[in-house]
Symmetry: C2
Subunit: 291 residues, 2 copies
DNA sequence: CTATACTATAGGGAGCGTCTATGATGGATC
DNA sequence: GATCCATCATAGACGCTCCCTATAGTATAG
């Protein structure tokens, strides 16, 4: 019946010159695309490509189909744009957990801007604030901590990580992989006030008889990192924070973890499809960042 | 993803003004179409139709989609025509069994001509001749007798029928539903030379001691019917022949049947899709004729 | 208030699009 | 000329989703 996906396969083969690359471009396996083209050819009763082992070239019938096939794809694109029309002015609102590295947020913003039409709004906030905004439909997607409890939101976990110490690179214990709380008794500490495990951290130290004094309290991870590198003190942060001049040894017996992922409403008035694409972009970006 | 079938559903709703008729036009059940439109609306994140119980009307977004959607369908049609281009000059060759009523052939020819682009060739012939032509790829489809044996051809049975007598409406036995061979001893008979069960018929009579004389021999069913109505004699024909001035009582204990259907090659160089459409048209036409 | 016409929802079944694994083919290389 | 590499085709299994029937919900008409 010459369905849309077949048109895409066909155009991909033309554009990439062979089946394998075309398949990759369509996000399908090579045999899938092979079958797809065969189906088109069966449908039309005539070959569309002349296959040689070196390259694939259009037959006469294929050449006649090429331009109209592009017209098909173009008309689809036009139709999809037409209906968005008004909706395009509604910005996509992304919430990002405050305790996500600034570079990550930057990368996310760049990728979304480049690969998606329409305006973008980024909101930072703590876990609870983001959750609340989502619940009230003030956000479309949030990159935040995902809990097993399903609290009425869709969610897609992306990765889990622990928390570890942040030490200046010239700290005496900087090269150690694991450090016990007791060894840090003499160190000043920097308080990241927005930290999700702040109370757990403080309990961890007090339970081991360590009562450090606090050299700084800040809401900004960037500043906290600055303080650490300046030798002002040590702190505990999610593993994903990395910077030159700073090492990240484990804090012994501190096993808290967080799972970051995307949370979103499924009952949105916004386009499901746009949402899905944005989610895909986000998740791909993060995948790329954590490796 | 806004697939092609969804575009068709959408346009059908616009054209028919309600979901139920649109579904019928698309050959799907109403819930199917309902879900399809819902899927489009979910995909776009906005309603396309305003439903009232009396009619459905386009929303603003739906109205924006309407024209581009038609463009999509048009571009598909154009693409499909483009690739046929050369193939369109090859006529579709239909074989029709000689013992199929002339009105049927006429109806078939008309339907195919109206609903299908390209030239048409109709060949009449006996069962064996048609089969031979099919085998040699001199025919695309044949409306003929289908046997359970699968002799390398695809086939689609359409209906089975028996054979019965054909009597002039003013024949003394015309109102009877069943007549025994013996009762026809004094009648003249018309020989339809092309009849598939000619030898079985003649044996049926001779075995019962009836040796009628033959008032006419013809290859034309139309003429045979004319002779019957003129009172020249009686004959045996497939049940499907019906005409004013002629009745069709059963011949007692004559239980032969034939199954008419479509036979075709599956390994054709011709377009599978065109073939499938032609077969669908044919089978629909016959369905309509036999009721 | 019943009857009618229409759309939405639920749940099961089947077709087909997709996958992985494997085969087949032909050009390049030593 | 044997081997390797790149390419497309085929086979069989899996799983998604399109489609169905049955049913509910809702508004208009008589």
């Amino acid at each position: 019946m010459m369905d849309r996906y077949l048109v895409r396969y066909f155009l991909a083969v033309i554009d990439h010159g062979n089946f394998s690359k075309a398949a990759a471009a369509c996000n399908v396996a090579q045999p899938t695309l092979s079958v797809g083209i065969a189906k088109l050819e069966r449908g039309f009763g005539t070959p569309l490509f002349r296959r040689s082992n070196r390259r694939v070239e259009l037959t006469a019938a294929g050449a006649r189909l090429a331009a109209p096939a592009r017209a098909v794809e173009a008309s689809f694109a036009q139709a999809e744009n037409a209906v968005r029309g008004s909706a395009a002015s509604v910005p996509l609102r992304i919430g990002v957990l405050s305790t996500v590295p600034a570079e990550w947020v930057e990368a996310i913003a760049r990728r979304l801007n480049d690969n998606r039409p329409g305006r973008l709004e980024i909101v930072e906030g703590g876990e609870r604030a983001l959750h609340e905004r989502l619940r009230r439909a003030r956000l479309d997607i949030a990159l935040t901590i995902i809990h097993p409890s399903v609290d009425r939101l869709e969610s897609e976990p992306l990765f889990s990580e622990g928390y570890s110490l942040a030490l200046s690179a010239d700290h005496p214990l900087a090269r150690r992989t694991t450090i016990a709380a007791e060894e840090l008794a003499e160190n000043a500490m920097i308080v990241r006030r927005q930290c999700e495990v702040l109370s757990e951290t403080s309990r961890h130290f007090t339970e081991r008889g360590v009562r450090p004094h606090f050299s700084a309290r800040t809401n900004s991870d960037l500043r906290a990192i600055g303080y650490v590198r300046a030798g002002l003190g040590v702190t505990v942060m999610p593993d994903c924070f990395q910077a030159d001049g700073m090492t990240r040894p484990k804090l012994e017996d501190f096993h808290h973890t967080r799972t970051l992922g995307l949370a979103y409403r499924s009952d949105l008035d916004r386009s499901q499809e746009e949402l899905a694409r944005s989610i895909a972009i986000l998740s791909e970006t993060i995948d790329h960042l954590i490796r």
